[in-house]
């Protein structure tokens, strides 16, 4: 009997992924198509980013995807000069938070941004980013 195949697409997320299997693995396919996506509960309309398979408000698992679009405000960020094991090849890099109103997105700032271009409160957009090691993440760029 053939071994049941395990869907480990999520291994591709970020410089180092710590999760291989999740019910929202389609997030990776959508990243590959250039889309950063969250989920919305079809029953009660609750919106989730990052995407979830289950709604804690109405307990439904009937979700639909939506794409993060438009711009969000930069809430805060930090540029790292020291990295945890596995991330030193990426240094320096900045982690950041964008506020889109209905939801927030945690990620990295585009490494092409110079320090003096970055201001708390500035409008930014998300973009899918291919990492040198073949992994995928998303970054924030000037809107």
């Amino acid at each position: 009997m053939a071994k049941k195949e395990i869907d480990t697409r999520f291994n591709k997320f970020g410089t180092v992924s710590f999760t291989s299997t999740t019910k929202v693995n389609d997030f990776i396919d959508r990243l590959e198509q250039g889309k950063v996506s969250g989920t919305r509960c079809k029953k009660c309309g609750m919106t989730f980013f990052p995407p979830r398979a289950d709604c804690y408000q109405c307990f439904s698992s009937d979700m639909e995807w939506f794409d993060v679009a438009g711009t969000g405000k930069l809430v805060t960020y930090s540029k790292l000069e020291y990295a945890p094991v596995g991330f030193d090849g990426d240094l320096p890099y900045a982690i950041a938070l964008l506020d889109f109103g209905d939801f927030k997105v945690f990620g990295r700032l585009d490494s092409n941004l110079s320090d003096d271009e970055i201001q708390v409160g500035m409008e930014m957009k998300t973009a899918v980013n291919k990492l040198p090691n073949g992994q995928l993440n998303y970054v924030f760029q000037k809107a």
Partner: protein, 388 residues
């Protein structure tokens, strides 16, 4: 039910590279508290063991530590809320006693961080966040707290120098605390001196001097019901209020980035239960894993209004002689932060203060003290209010 008291406190010296096993390390804090309480292991009904996972290789440490302490066959439990594990342990002990299940409970916190490298430690701490959606971006504790620092600066005009002043205060007391890992003075000039390690960049806007010292250490708090506390101890310190709260792990679920809601919520609960307000606190230990964390604690606990924490440190109001002395044992910044041992060590400091036994660190005649202990990036909040 009557009151719940603390009858013994202890801690090991906080050091780098402890030359022994986790059992031997934890025993140092346990023995210190037992000698302080002047009781025997037969007087202890249960033990609560606290640490954060993945620093050492021992699975389920409660059993092996209870064995080493001679606390079998009494029940033992393992409790974990990252950096606030042993405050949570004391809250559990309080509940076990208040429910009438046990009379005397030993809470032991420990961490041997030196089993792994600093970069490995950052990776593990980064995984105290959301491993699915945040850690793959390369997160670590200093960077998360740096995001709070950036927001606090942007919202209120707090400066890097204000934060550095908090480190200078911590070092003032770290020098006189013989159990502290960092005993050297720190001056404001060091933060602008490229030759000084303090000025080294870590995660903007935080620098090396803004970050606490990793350490190996253990702590122990012995908690008892009113009857036993009065029988065993001449100077029991009473637990007047306990508060605890959580929030979302992932920052996307939060709405405040210039303060920690868990500190506010846990503080509110503890003040209400104790029937006191911030102005009644005579001495406090707050969770200064980073300088910004102490600044936010001033504001979240009501010692200062939001955005005005800097006035406290600029005016030296949180020094020993000030209106609200905070972390006059060196804090996590200089005393060191062996994750699972930290809450117990903070509680020990306040108990010694209330007993008038804090030596050179003694604040003048305090009656009510507060302990604020945070786990993760503002993920778990614990506030304990103690009184004579």
């Amino acid at each position: 039910m009557g009151k719940v008291g603390i009858i013994g406190v202890g801690q090991s010296a906080f050091v780098r590279g402890y030359p022994g096993s986790i059992k031997e390390l934890a025993f140092e804090g346990f023995r210190d508290a037992m000698l302080d309480a002047q009781i025997t292991t037969k007087d202890i009904d249960a033990s609560v063991i606290c640490s954060a996972p993945e620093y050492d290789k021992q699975r389920s440490p409660a059993g092996v530590l209870a064995e080493y302490f001679g606390l079998t066959p009494q029940p033992t439990f393992y409790v974990e809320t990252l950096c606030s594990s042993s405050s949570t342990g004391v809250k559990l002990a309080y509940s076990l006693i208040k429910s009438g299940l046990h009379d005397v409970v030993a809470v032991v916190g420990f961490q041997k961080m030196s089993e792994i490298s600093s970069a490995e430690s950052q990776e593990r701490m980064g995984r105290g966040a959301d491993i699915q959606w945040e850690s793959p971006f390369g997160t670590m504790m200093p960077a998360y707290y740096a995001m709070y620092a950036r927001r606090h600066m942007s919202k209120y005009g707090t400066t890097s120098e204000d934060l550095a002043l908090i480190r200078v205060k911590a070092a003032t007391y770290g020098q006189i605390n013989e159990k502290a890992v960092y005993r050297k003075p720190v001056t404001l000039d060091m933060f602008s001196d490229p030759e000084s390690a303090m000025s080294g960049p870590v995660a903007s806007p935080l620098r090396v001097g803004d970050c606490c010292a990793n350490a190996d250490g253990s702590s122990c708090i012995i908690v008892a019901n009113e009857e036993k506390a009065k029988a065993f101890s001449k100077k029991p310190v009473w637990i007047l209020g306990v508060g605890a709260a959580s929030t979302t792990v992932n920052l996307v679920g939060r709405s405040l980035f210039s303060g920690l809601t868990v500190g506010m919520e846990a503080g509110k609960q503890a003040y209400e239960m104790a029937g006191v307000s911030p102005k009644d606190i005579d001495v406090a230990e707050v969770h200064d894993c980073f300088t910004i964390a102490e600044m936010m604690a001033y504001e979240n606990l009501g010692f200062a209004k939001p955005g005005e924490g800097r006035d406290l440190i600029r005016g030296k109001e949180t020094y020993k002689e000030g209106s609200i002395p905070v972390n006059v044992d060196g804090g996590l910044l200089s005393k060191g932060h062996p994750i699972g041992a930290t809450g117990g060590s903070q509680i020990r400091t306040i108990v010694l203060q209330l007993r008038g036994e804090a030596g050179d660190m003694q604040v003048k005649d305090p009656e009510i003290g507060l302990v604020h202990n945070i786990g993760g990036v503002g993920l778990y909040g614990n506030v304990t209010i103690l009184g004579r």
